[in-house]
């Protein structure tokens, strides 16, 4: 029976000793690691062999050195940028989720809000950034958060609204047969059904939030942020620092993404996407 086979699979996976599990992980990750190391080595040797100028493409070792020497500046900058990104993400995601509940519950709200939300999502963020700086003050971190909010609000709203409404009709009928109230249908069917949609959107939004914050910083404000470090170092032709700042931004984004992945695994272990990841 497939069910029994499936079960024994799962239990055996749990019983695997830690050492073997780590070995398996390494074997699984090996191709990516090998490719990454190879790229870095070729990059390093290639730049040296071709005698390339620093400002065209710095060597990985030079970027690593800049990461170390500039680390006090980069740490402060990364902290400030992450604050903007996470603040905007929190506000934008909350607003998107709340709107999704309203939109999926009342047709009136849907008709009133969706066209505006779609319109707002079409605004190019590069155009919005100077306007928000003007509105909220160029030194106010909220002027950068506003750009992030604008960026993450719509994908969150659309995905969660879809998760709340795209429930199997027979699942709702089943609840009706048990004389369930609308609140019970929401809690026991619609919200769990929307969770995978929420996490899909959240993964997109974490990446977007960092992009939004860095782009917004390009248009001025405090100089202790990754966006300004990138702009200023490149204007001084210190591209090793530019690359170091980009590396920090990328690592921050990857870190945020991994946190979401872990939370997702804990919250919706039952979802098909998690089962695929497991095997």
């Amino acid at each position: 029976m497939t069910a029994l086979a499936g079960e024994s699979d799962i239990t055996s996976r749990r019983r695997v000793p830690a050492a073997r599990r780590i070995a398996r992980q390494i074997r699984y990750q090996a191709p990516a690691i090998v490719v990454a190391v190879a790229v870095l080595v070729i990059w390093e040797l290639g730049v040296t062999a071709l005698n390339m100028q620093q400002f065209i493409l710095p060597r990985p070792s030079a970027i690593a050195a800049a990461l170390v020497t500039e680390s006090p500046t980069l740490q402060v900058a990364a902290g400030n940028t992450l604050f903007e990104a996470l603040g905007g993400l929190a506000i934008g995601v909350s607003a998107g989720v709340l709107t999704a509940f309203a939109v999926s519950r009342w047709a009136r709200v849907r008709e009133a809000i969706l066209p505006i939300a779609i319109g707002a999502s079409a605004i190019p963020i590069i155009a919005a950034a100077p306007i928000f700086s003007n509105w909220f003050g160029i030194l106010n971190p909220f002027s950068k958060m506003a750009v992030v909010i604008l960026l993450v609000y719509f994908p969150m709203l659309i995905n969660v609204a879809r998760g709340l409404t795209q429930v199997e009709p027979s699942a709702v009928e089943l609840m009706q047969a048990s004389a369930a109230s609308e609140g019970q249908v929401l809690r026991k069917v619609r919200i769990p059904n929307a969770l995978p949609y929420f996490f899909t959107a959240l993964k997109v939004c974490t990446t977007l939030s960092l992009i939004g914050a860095v782009v917004a910083e390009y248009f001025g404000g405090s100089s202790d942020v990754l966006g300004r470090v990138i702009v200023q170092s490149s204007s001084r032709l210190r591209f090793d620092i530019t690359w170091a700042a980009i590396t920090v931004a990328a690592l921050s984004g990857i870190l945020m993404y991994l946190v979401v992945l872990m939370v997702e695994r804990v919250v919706i272990p039952w979802h098909a996407s998690q089962r695929v990841a497991e095997s």
Partner: protein
């Protein structure tokens, strides 16, 4: 089997254990009360393509403890009739009375259990949590719930799978979970809408025996929609044969096969006769027109039949 004398085919069942047959004795005794009364029901669907008469002039009475199958080609309104009984849709005209009250009230009183063709299990709930769902909705205490869930999983023989998740089960097992869930509130009526339509033939036959056993153990009245003739004959006390456009009841056929019906039942002459009778009726031919005279005219006018 109301009032019908033992017919041909009964002798094949001479080995029947007495205790399993008591339901039939009760029915033969005639001391039955109606659970479902459908009278003068019409159902019209307004679609973009115009009006469709899904059901026309439906009268049907289902008695306590009966197993009634609705059979007919697609579009005959058998599922619609089931959904009318369960108050999942309202009739255009006519009345549906369940346990002496309007269908809506019966639904709010949780008199129904429902099983669909798809198991409709919730991925995020374990098997036991899926079965417990209607009990949670009712607001039952945790202890009561656990006890009831255990009894239900015992009934469908899935006790060892309580902590599994739906994706870890085969299709047949998933459908048994959904039957356990439908019976969790001990409803007086179990509505089943082609519950085994997605299963392979072997699993389907096994599930049929299973459903018969559960029906006999619980005493629940069952309304069962199917388009499998053997399934309808094997399970039912009565088979309601319907025809499409407009959806009507053509004839109600009593199934007088003794209980419990087993794999041997599927090989008796009477079983084949009844299958033939249902098939002929579905083809629109009166069974009485047949040369061998298997069916008698009086059965054509069985209780509840219209037109």
């Amino acid at each position: 089997m109301a009032g019908r004398a033992p017919g041909p085919g009964d002798e094949a069942m001479s080995g029947t254990p007495e205790n399993m047959a008591d339901r039939d004795i009760k029915e033969v005794g005639g001391a039955t009360t109606s659970v479902v009364t459908v009278s003068g029901v019409n159902k019209v669907f307004d679609t973009s393509g115009g009006r469709t008469n899904a059901l026309e002039g439906i009268d049907l009475t289902i008695n306590t403890g009966e197993f009634v199958s609705l059979i007919g080609p697609s579009g005959c309104g058998k599922s619609t009739l089931l959904r009318l009984i369960g108050d999942l849709t309202a009739p255009t005209s006519g009345t549906v009375t369940v346990n002496g009250k309007p269908a809506r009230q019966a639904r709010l009183d949780r008199d129904y259990g429902i099983v669909f063709q798809a198991p409709v299990l919730f991925d995020w709930r374990s098997v036991q949590a899926n079965v417990a769902l209607p009990l949670e909705v009712k607001g039952m205490s945790r202890r009561e719930r656990d006890e009831r869930v255990r009894a239900m999983l015992e009934l469908v023989e899935l006790r060892d799978f309580a902590r599994h998740y739906p994706y870890q089960l085969s299709g047949g097992m998933q459908q048994r979970v959904s039957i356990a869930r439908a019976l969790a509130l001990q409803p007086s009526i179990l509505l089943m809408d082609e519950p085994f339509g997605a299963l392979d033939e072997m699993t389907r036959e096994r599930m049929n025996s299973e459903v018969q056993r559960i029906w006999q153990q619980t005493g629940t009245t069952v309304v069962f929609v199917t388009h499998s003739i053997p399934e309808a004959v094997f399970l039912s006390s009565r088979v309601v044969v319907m025809s499409p456009r407009p959806g009507r009841i053509v004839r109600v056929i009593d199934v007088d096969l003794p209980r419990p019906r087993t794999d041997d039942t599927r090989e008796t002459a009477r079983y084949f006769e009844l299958i033939t009778e249902v098939r002929e009726t579905l083809r629109g031919r009166r069974a009485g027109e047949r040369a061998d005279g298997v069916a008698s005219a009086e059965r054509t006018m069985a209780e509840g039949a219209v037109g």
